[in-house]
């Protein structure tokens, strides 16, 4: 019970921490909306030339565009977002790793709070603007909500691994750059993964990045069977969190037992 209250507080903390940076969120929402409009016109041109591309109608393609623009914030598509990243460089992570609560759950609660805030501040504006300017389709199934949350958890699981990997590398910038590039490309942010050719499509659709953006968007559009979509996301969520727990043990060993 006390643990539940702790994680609830951490969730609120994550929410509040991000809500203090209101200007940043508004700027982000504005940018996401503008790029959404640009992307929408590109997609419209594409779909008018080749109707039914990737199995989407024109309205579905435009919906896909604004949905995924709205995922940039909550799914933290461009990486980072975890508060313990800086504490690795300063060495303060040693104290986090020996706290009575596990770092993984601790940061997950905080990250969900972050995502909750960014859903309001950065997902709603582009979605509303998109719906006002273009024809969009309504969600097919309420399971979209579960898929949306699982997408955030998968994103967290991936970023946790990338952030914690800094315990072994002196400089973490390279890792983060590579990670955001992979996420951006393979999640469906650039183009729906259905447009990727051959084996690249197979790889992208099987990757955890697809579970962050492509799958939740397809759940909204009804383009993927509910259970296989959720199952796929659940698989990646459990796998990444499991790896995160293992890596945490290794990090503790490294910091606490080997001391450096």
């Amino acid at each position: 019970m006390a643990d539940f209250v702790l994680y609830l507080r951490l969730f609120q903390y994550g929410f509040r921490r991000h809500s203090t940076y209101l200007a940043a969120a508004l700027a982000g929402a504005f940018t996401n909306t503008v790029f959404g409009v640009l992307r929408a016109y590109v997609l419209i041109a594409l779909w008018e030339a080749r109707p039914g591309l990737a199995g989407y109608t024109l309205a579905e393609a435009v919906t896909f565009c604004f949905l995924t623009q709205g995922f940039i914030g909550p799914m933290q598509v461009f990486g980072r977002g975890l508060s313990f990243g800086d504490r690795i460089r300063s060495g303060d992570i040693a104290f986090d790793l020996v706290r009575p609560a596990p770092l993984l759950l601790w940061s997950l609660a905080e990250d969900l709070g972050r995502a909750a805030y960014l859903t309001i501040a950065r997902s709603l504006p582009p979605s509303i603007a998109g719906a006002a300017m273009f024809t969009m389709v309504a969600p097919v199934s309420p399971w979209f909500v579960a898929s949306f949350v699982l997408g955030i958890v998968v994103s967290f699981g991936w970023r946790y691994l990338v952030t914690l990997a800094a315990c072994w590398t002196t400089d973490d910038r390279g890792m983060h750059t590579l990670s955001s590039l992979l996420t951006f490309f393979f999640s469906g942010m650039v183009l729906p993964l259905g447009l990727f050719p051959g084996w690249l499509r197979t790889v992208a659709e099987a990757s955890p990045f697809a579970a962050m953006v492509q799958v939740p968007a397809d759940m909204w559009l009804g383009a993927t069977p509910t259970w296989s979509g959720l199952g796929f996301q659940l698989f990646w969520a459990v796998t990444l969190l499991g790896l995160g727990a293992l890596l945490t043990v290794a990090a503790r060993r490294k910091v606490v037992v080997q001391g450096g």
Partner: protein
Amino acid sequence: MIETMSLGRDFKVRGAVVAAVHDLTFRVEAGEFVGCLGPNGAGKSTTIKMLTGILTPTRGRASVAGLDPARQRKTLARRIGVVFGQRTTLWWDLPLRDSFELVRLLYKVDRSRFTARLAELTEVLDLGPFLRTPVRQLSLGQRMRGDITAALLHDPEVLVLDEPTIGLDVVAKAEVRSFLARLNADRGTTVLLTTHDLGDVERLCRRVLLIDHGRLAFDGSVPELRALVPGQESIEDVVAHLYLSSTPAAPRTPRRTPDADPPTVTA
């Protein structure tokens, strides 16, 4: 209350094994106020980290409040308070009050005890004016008082401080010192602190441990420490003399810069 037996800790530095702490044996009784002195790189922080379960010893053993810090870290965490002067356990973006609330939940302090204790500490440490200020906006002196409060919310039997007065101005230093003295006198809390500030030692510590090259070089009272170097007026000169004249028994270990802390993460 605190006991070490041939405690030792090695670090790997570029493939070579370096002993930060060699063979440390000492005992601190309940209610004592002990200061730990030593030049940079002497092994003070490493010792503190072993006593608080943040580092696992390579050799020997330690016991704090009857517990093995490395094995019973979580139980120990609820019985001791730890403050690292150069680090903070508070949440950067949160108001101080909310950080305390998280500490309360983390260490499972029940609410009534927490409220009473916080009220008491707020008054003694004069936290009132900045209890609602985010930690990132606090001055170093305010933050240190916040960190000390966070370490004492669960009313620990032992308080361990690593350079608690580092970087503080004379007024803030005096406040922290008088608080620690009262804590020790009124509540009987055992205090062990490391410092480079000899004012801390003279005003607070009835007993001094001098650690050099990872070994215990001196254990006694401040007058006894002075008596080691006759003819020196100030305690600063006494200690400087001791640091300079120390001869390592083992091959000299490379000094770490900028301070005694081993590179915690970046290997």
